[in-house]
């Protein structure tokens, strides 16, 4: 498995590891498929809209666009199955196998292990949401100090776990209606159409408004976030969204003296245990590229 540096320094700026090449490729396939599916599906949902005929014509109209839609849907479902295998393998190889090796694996430990995986929602997420609302309503200047994966990341990650099966199964039923109605009642197609159509609209709005706002369009990232291409997040955004994890990683890399203050203007008031530096301070190294720490296959070493 390829090893990744947790912190990279390029032209005096630090970048923090977020995702492996494998994960980025998965994400790009997911994103491409979703965009193609939305562009070839929404003209059917809104077939009376003036724009729908032009958009559908771009994909070959009624004769070709459904084929494009089904192809993208198949790729997405294969990707989903692959991701489940990938996830299971990584959890097994990274977490369960070492315990088995030490002969410390028990049902209780396994459950605890699964419940404390970094992408599983936890109490801290709830605290962060409460803190976020305080911040958004101007009750505090302190933003929630996000962990490696914030509640927003988890929401974005788990949403397709609901969406892809709902859309995939309903799509397969409508596509293979003769087969599906061999053992299911004909009304299932009505339910499949409602589920497919409405869930697709929810997914599209969720991704193109909420997800894109958070990763591309919010003022600190606009016009485009690059982490989905590079796999590394800038220090500024790490401080803004993942402050607790940022501090943890910096300490681990022996860079306590370079830790930036938390996001916002409350730095002076906040209780900081670690020495802080101003964002404008230069990094102690003038090297063009320097790395700290390493991680294997997305799992912090």
């Amino acid at each position: 498995m390829e090893a990744y540096n947790i912190i990279k320094v390029k032209k005096g700026k630090k970048y923090f590891f977020r995702s492996t090449a494998n994960q980025r490729i998965q994400h790009i396939i997911l994103a491409t498929c979703v965009i193609v599916l939305v562009l070839t599906g929404m003209p059917l949902k809104f077939h009376d809209a003036s724009w729908a005929h032009y958009l559908y014509a771009l994909f070959g109209g009624i004769k070709v666009a459904p084929i494009v839609h089904k192809t993208a849907g198949c790729i997405l479902m294969i990707l989903f199955v692959y991701h489940l295998i990938y996830l299971a393998y990584n959890i097994y190889a990274g977490q369960i196998a070492p315990l088995r090796k030490k002969k410390e694996l028990s049902a209780g430990k396994l459950l605890k292990l699964l419940a404390t995986l970094p992408f599983i929602p936890n109490r801290k997420d709830l605290d962060d949401i409460i803190q976020l609302f305080k911040y958004l309503f101007f009750l505090t200047d302190r933003k929630p100090g996000g962990d490696e994966f914030t509640w927003k990341n988890k929401f974005d990650y788990w949403a397709p776990f609901w969406g892809i099966p709902v859309l995939g199964i309903s799509g397969l039923i409508m596509w293979n209606k003769e087969f599906a109605t061999q053992f299911l009642p004909g009304e299932i197609i009505n339910f499949a159409l409602i589920a497919h159509s409405d869930e697709a609209l929810l997914a599209a709005l969720f991704l193109f408004i909420w997800h894109w706002y958070n990763v591309h369009f919010k003022t600190s990232v606009f016009p485009m976030g690059t982490v989905f291409i590079t796999g590394y997040l800038s220090e500024k955004l790490m401080v803004e969204d993942h402050y607790e994890y940022y501090v943890k990683v910096m300490k681990k890399a022996g860079l306590e003296h370079e830790i930036l203050p938390p996001h916002g203007s409350f730095a002076q008031e906040s209780e900081q245990e670690t020495p802080i530096r101003k964002e404008s301070d230069s990094t102690p190294t003038d090297e063009k590229f320097k790395t700290y720490g390493s991680t294997k296959g997305g799992q912090p070493a």
Binding site: G186, E187, S265
Partner: protein, 355 residues
């Protein structure tokens, strides 16, 4: 020298243009030969010809010769339908009766041609004005007359049923010319035969035609119909594909007419002889041209699904769940987004003392 060359070029262009004009106009003339023996177009060819009738309605009396010449009735004399007109200039013409015998001789029976048979079919269909006891049905005036569906569309000759492109096939014309010498005769009969081998309207046009009544809320309410049929058809993949001008997709007539019967013999879904009757309707979907591998279960798919708690409670609440899910997910997230943007744009607003 240069001027001479230019003149030569200029005159060649003019010559070419005039030659083209000659061919185009001569084609248009031959193309627009309608059966106007009575010379009615002498007056009716003028686009502005119109009058206000006794009921105060504006009546356009103009006949577009080119459209008429390409219509299904191109070879019927004007007097063939307007039987009350005996002299020119004529008195106000009466409404045309589509069941009158016209001058054409039907070749198989050698009798005068008439649409009377259609009226017989229609009188036995769900669209009949009289009920089984020959009493006028309630709201009989809502039942369609000939012109409600037949707006005399242009010919749309084809090369075979739904899967083939419309238009005159050059290959087929070659075969006709083996025996028949006159192109005018060949075109006429090619059009006559091929337009009757398929519907002259696209599925979208047919749905729109039926929708004139079946999507009219007043008619739907008056006749206690459970659905706006064309609207609900439009929400299915068939309807959507029809809207995208798919010629292969089933339209109203494909599912509501018993195979091999005239479209005028449409029966109510409550009639045991109807293809849409509960125990017969599986034959619609499993038709060889549609879903031959399907089981009768497929026909239980509700094409005309009206999402109301009265008509389809299960589907209605299922959709309500997704609407609630969409609203319940997106509204809070949009709220957070809006507040986040506001907080970013106005970071220094003070509401209360900060902790």
């Amino acid at each position: 020298m240069k001027l001479k060359r230019f003149n030569k070029f200029f005159f060649s262009c003019c010559g070419f243009f005039l030659l083209n004009l000659f061919f185009v106009t001569s084609f248009m003339v031959t193309d627009s030969l309608a059966a106007d023996i009575g010379n009615c177009l002498l007056c009716h060819k003028y686009p502005g010809l119109s009058r206000i009738d006794e009921e105060g309605k504006f009546r356009l009396l103009y006949v577009n010769e080119s459209i008429f010449a390409n219509s299904v009735h191109a070879k019927v004399k004007c007097e063939g339908c307007h039987t009350d007109i005996k002299k020119i200039p004529h008195d106000p013409a009466k409404k045309v009766n589509c069941l009158s015998e016209c001058h054409i001789i039907e070749p198989s029976s050698e009798q005068k041609f008439s649409h009377k048979e259609v009226a017989t079919f229609l009188s036995k269909s769900v669209h009949a004005k009289l009920d089984e006891k020959q009493n006028p049905k309630k709201y009989a005036e809502d039942m369609p007359d000939c012109l409600d569906c037949h707006d005399n569309p242009l010919f749309r000759p084809l090369s075979f049923f739904k899967r083939v492109r419309p238009g005159i096939s050059e290959m087929a014309l070659g075969r006709c010319r083996v025996c028949h010498k006159k192109d005018e005769f060949i075109f006429r009969f090619y059009n006559h035969v091929t337009t009757r081998l398929h519907t002259t309207r696209s599925p979208k046009n047919i749905a729109e035609m039926c929708g004139r009544c079946h999507d009219d809320p007043k008619i739907v309410a008056r006749h206690n119909l459970t659905t706006r049929a064309v609207f609900s058809y439009g929400e299915t993949f068939h309807g959507k594909a029809a809207n995208y001008l798919d010629e292969r997709i089933p339209d109203c007539l494909d599912c509501h007419i018993n195979r091999g019967k005239s479209v005028h013999q449409m029966l109510s879904h409550e009639d045991p002889l109807s293809i849409t009757y509960d125990t017969n309707k599986s034959a619609i979907c499993t038709n060889i041209e549609c879903h031959p591998k399907a089981t009768p279960r497929l026909a239980n798919y509700k094409v005309h699904l009206e999402l109301t708690p009265e008509n389809s409670p299960k589907e209605y609440y299922f959709q309500l769940f997704f609407i609630a899910l969409t609203g319940g997910t997106l509204l809070p997230l949009m709220g957070i987004m809006f507040l986040d943007l506001f907080r970013r744009l106005f970071p220094n607003i003070r509401i209360t003392r900060r902790k």
